[in-house]
Subunit: 250 residues, 6 copies
């Protein structure tokens, strides 16, 4: 492939095996990136692993905004990758903002809860507060489809998306925003998320002759050279590992 | 294929021949899974067999919510698989909640009837009551298209879906939610069900050279490794049997 | 192909040559089936032949609800298959409910006329009356697209469809409901009829190298095993004859 | 191909060379047929030739309803096929009902003019009058897209279509109704015309390797056997001639 | 190819090299034709060349209605084909009606300006006046997408299209109306323009193996035989030249 | 390929290596061009490089309107191509109009800020002022999707697009307007931008066998001959370089 490597900009390594070398060392600091893929393609795994590595490898605290999952299930899921989120939370290195329970109307005993899940500004305010609390440097917003709940028109949706990504950036967070994809040729649910973020990481899980296999692509990354190849990856008890030397054909 | 096998999480086996070994021993406890497929692909068979096995093999009582079928027909259909639902009901191991007759306006003599089929909360309340009654551990909601009846917008639909799946989870049920599919590349009717459930089991019934054949895939399963293969299965007088060793090409 | 054959459920044979053996001896009693296909694929022929055979072979009177055709033309068309509907009507073995003339505003001298073609309940009431009159056991509703006329939303349409199929079932009729199809990969006009009926019989009339040829498939049949093959059939002066031993490729 | 030939029903020959033998001798009397095809596929030519032959070969007067063309242009166009419509009109064997000029707001000196082109009933009344005047047996309505002008919803459109076709039938006309098609796999503009007419004649004009060629198919014909082949045809100074013995591949 | 050649109708030659022989000598007098194609396919070039040739070769003055371009740019563009429109205008042989500047709200010093670009009737009135002024015989309306601006519904759009084409015809102009196309299998922007005009000239500019090449087809021409082939053409400093002997494959 | 080369019109060279020779020396003066492509295809890079070259190679000041990005990020991104925008700004050779911050509601310390990002006329007025200030000759509007924010209907959108492109032209700017594309066969987001601009430059970034590669095409250029080939290009620390001699196949 032979791309030239990273630029001089400050890099935030994901610490995900085989990934950072695809994009010159990591993400650009204080920018918001899209992580998009089908259901089960690994968006949450990738994103939370980025937060987890942030804490354990780079001592950067992180915020995880969960819009449509139960934080308890997430903690349990991550255990199967040998990541202990609870521990990070207890050391104030990770905060999980539960944005689901209010929406669904189910009682919760989470520490960080979003009370009004249908108001964009209250969510952002909550993130700012938590950032102050734990000194977060990284953020994951999983998933941005929830922005559809706070937007009545396509225009509003786009502005809310911009607002989210620009605010996280402005307050000094390097963020991953996940997006649901329905079709292998698209990059996002609303067909605009890839245009208003600083970069797009695309996860695939395509069927070929009765078997699914996973691959990942740095589709776009403003201000940085990166690999043009689609690379196979694996999810195992070690979480995600990218195999940058192998080829993918589909 | 060689996936690593199940994680340590507590498993709820479906007892369906050849299926549990595809996903490390069964479903994760107290979670909601999507079972999706075309008309006639076997969603109801799979789901009810899961309930039936729950009772006869694992002594776990179950609830079957039927939104658009006549419970009497279901009992008769299951007889052709040598499953006697009536008997399970008489022993208070199975409750069939008839959510159709009120909707359609036809008199019914079912024991469990949903009186207001157009109110999400009343349905959930009814399920909670029945759960208490019979000590259910498993639940099947067949089919979730009926959520469209209680939702005026896409947003509401998504929130109702979340509400259903989160509530079943919260009250301690391990559930299957069926979803109708129209196209072999899609996973659900509303293109969002696979994103808001903990896993997706996809049933196929594709035509090839003038013959249809059945296959099944664990498409997504949060917190668990699983087979990446699409496996052939059969429906016969023994119900569903999956053949995990054979290959499917389409 | 080698499917196991019929279950123990009571069967209603269509008497259509080569068809009943595809599905273990016939339809399940007191259930509603979809017959779907393109224009000219043979839906009306199949359905009326089912009624005709009902009378002459099994002494089961039948009701034919015609929503968008002139009963006089239907009688003439059936003559070309050597079926004399008039005679059956005169012996009170067949009733044709003219649901078109009121809709179109043209005078009619039919015996059974639907006065308000835009009210679902009045139609059902009319069918119940006729059933009493002639002791009908079989019913054909041709075509269900007319349900669109009495439904303002997708939800209403679905409920009306359920209502129609459940009511016919409840009053003791074994019924065929026809549905218009536009595309060879779809099963119905509104993409939901196949989900809310007990089975789907799909008629094809596909073009291949400048010639059309006919084929038929039992796509779905709850509670019964059936052939998985798509079988060629013919329409001739003997009406429809299915050729279950031949193959179809498209 | 070897279809069995015509039924006993009374036939109305089109007199178009090579066509009547495709469908057992012609159209069934007093029924309405769809003639559909792309722009320039020959719908108007076919239909007017049917009227012209009606007069000169079978002494059956005809009515031509023109909804979106200038009658003067039509007369001139037909001259290029050596058909002299003016002469037929002068002998009261043909009436052209100008339904365009009122719609467009341009003065006209046509004998038969539709004054209110946005009212379905006034059009039908006008046709009935003309039928009385000249004793018409045949009718052409070119094109039915104009029914969209008098219909606010899909339902209304379908009912208007039914009304048109049933009324023409009821007053004793054998009719051709033209329909615009956009895609080679469709049969009509509104995807329902082929279902509510007694038959469909489909004209194709497909591109293959940089050349267009014409072909015709009797796609549907209730009450009659017909050829299942798609047959090439030609338009020349003799009008349309079908070549029933040749093959078409596309 | 061997089509029989032109009919006896009076012809208006375009004077475009290689084109008139495709359709028996030219357009039929006093009729309106569609010229459709993708952006940059040559619609404006073809149409203006038709006007230019009208003046310099056949002494027929012409009107050019420009709805979304700056007349000054058009004059400059045409110079690159060695056509001097200014000169024709100065001799009152060509009138350019500027229908853009009012729409866009930019001052103009054009002689012929449309003051109310959102009123169909005022546009037609303006054309009639100009026709009187310069004795025009030819007209180009570039482009008809602007009719969308004066039409609120599909019905209105179609009637406005008919009105435009019928009025130009009625006042004695032989006209080209341009239409934007998005897809190689379509013929117009609104999927109806080809049905309500007397003929359709289709320009293609398709990509094949990394190169675009141009071709042209007489897709429809009422009242006239014409070539059935798609012919390559070129745009150069001599404007458009059609190569009727060569083949196109796509 | 062998196109004839440029016309006599005055040219504005982009200075992008390998590009100007594709279109006879550059853009036509005082016209507006579309630059369209997928996310990450290089639209912003191409456009800003055009502005940068304008200053450093041709001493033509430029305006960059940024609708959905942070100017600070853009300056940093361009550094990775060794372009120092800040320096150009300090010498009043480049003005960046920040149209994002007001929209998103984030404080900014940019010199040029658009206060009302939802009013087309205020934006145009702002551009006119800046043009006066710095004597700009070139302009980039990135991206035109933002016009969707100021347009309620398709008609308004089209008129706003025309207004933007015609105004920039009228005040003496040679401009690039970027447009987001979702599908390799389309040219713009709203399927009309390519019709109302003077030319279209299309950037591709297509996947082939697991690798993406970049290519560029002059798709349309009114008033000028240009290459018909799709040419590969590269983005590196030198910015964009087009390779006009190589071939592309997709
Ligand atoms: N312990 C594990 N070992 C291997 N694969 C796993 C494990 N846990 C989860 N997975 C896989 O990861 C998928 C879930 O990934 P996730 O990050 O939740 O996807 P997304 O967020 O894109 O929906 C599951 O569907 C499963 O295939
Ligand atoms: N006794 C049986 N033996 C074999 N196949 C059967 C039997 N009963 C039903 N089937 C098959 O199962 C299908 C119905 O499956 P079902 O679970 O109702 O599907 P779904 O709920 O996805 O519509 C029928 O269409 C038929 O093909
Ligand atoms: N006597 C006949 N012999 C052979 N084929 C016939 C005869 N009568 C009708 N057909 C065929 O049957 C078709 C009509 O079938 P029909 O049952 O009305 O279809 P549908 O109801 O699906 O539109 C006709 O289009 C014709 O092809
Ligand atoms: N005299 C003629 N000779 C040969 N072909 C002709 C002649 N006149 C018309 N045509 C062909 O017939 C087509 C018009 O057919 P028409 O019946 O008007 O089609 P439609 O009504 O389907 O739009 C023209 O596009 C042309 O190709
Ligand atoms: N002088 C010229 N020499 C060669 N080709 C030219 C010349 N001028 C314009 N063209 C070509 O013609 C195209 C413009 O054609 P035009 O008639 O404006 O198309 P349309 O109106 O269909 O958008 C340009 O994109 C360019 O490819
Ligand atoms: N320094 C660099 N070296 C090589 N490629 C780069 C460099 N900087 C950015 N890129 C590439 O350029 C892309 C961004 O291009 P950009 O002009 O912003 O695209 P667009 O505006 O079309 O979204 C990135 O996705 C990356 O692939
Ligand atoms: Mg996830
Ligand atoms: Mg089911
Ligand atoms: Mg029918
Ligand atoms: Mg016509
Ligand atoms: Mg043009
Ligand atoms: Mg950009």
């Amino acid at each position: 492939d032979g791309f030239e490597g990273g630029s001089q900009s400050e890099r935030v390594p994901t610490g995900i095996k085989g990934f950072d070398e695809l994009c010159g060392g990591g993400l650009l600091k204080n920018r918001s990136y899209l992580v998009s893929g089908n259901a089960g393609s690994g968006k949450s795994t990738f994103s939370i692993q980025y937060l987890h590595n942030g804490v354990v490898e780079y001592d950067e605290p992180g915020i995880l905004v969960v819009t449509e999952e139960d934080p308890k299930n997430i903690r349990e899921n991550m255990k199967s990758y040998n990541m202990d989120l609870k521990k990070l939370e207890q050391h104030d290195k990770l905060a999980i903002l539960d944005s689901q329970s209010a929406k669904v109307g189910i009682p919760t005993d989470e520490e960080y809860v979003e009370v009004d899940p249908f108001d964009m500004d209250s969510t952002l305010k909550r993130i700012v507060e938590i950032k102050e609390d734990i000194g977060a440097k990284r953020c994951v917003f999983d998933s941005t489809t929830s922005l559809g709940f706070v937007s009545d028109t396509q225009k509003q949706l786009r502005i809310n998306f911009l607002k989210l990504s620009a605010t996280l950036s402005a307050i000094g967070l390097t963020s991953l925003l996940t997006s649901e994809v329905l079709d292998k040729n698209r990059m996002s649910r609303f067909d605009m998320e890839e245009f208003v973020t600083e970069g797009t990481i695309r996860l695939y899980n395509e069927r070929k002759e009765g078997v699914r296999s996973r691959s990942i692509e740095v589709y776009k990354m403003r201000g940085s050279d990166h690999s043009k190849k689609i690379n196979p990856f694996e999810i195992s008890s070690k979480g995600i590992e990218v195999h940058p030397k192998e080829d993918v054909y589909f």
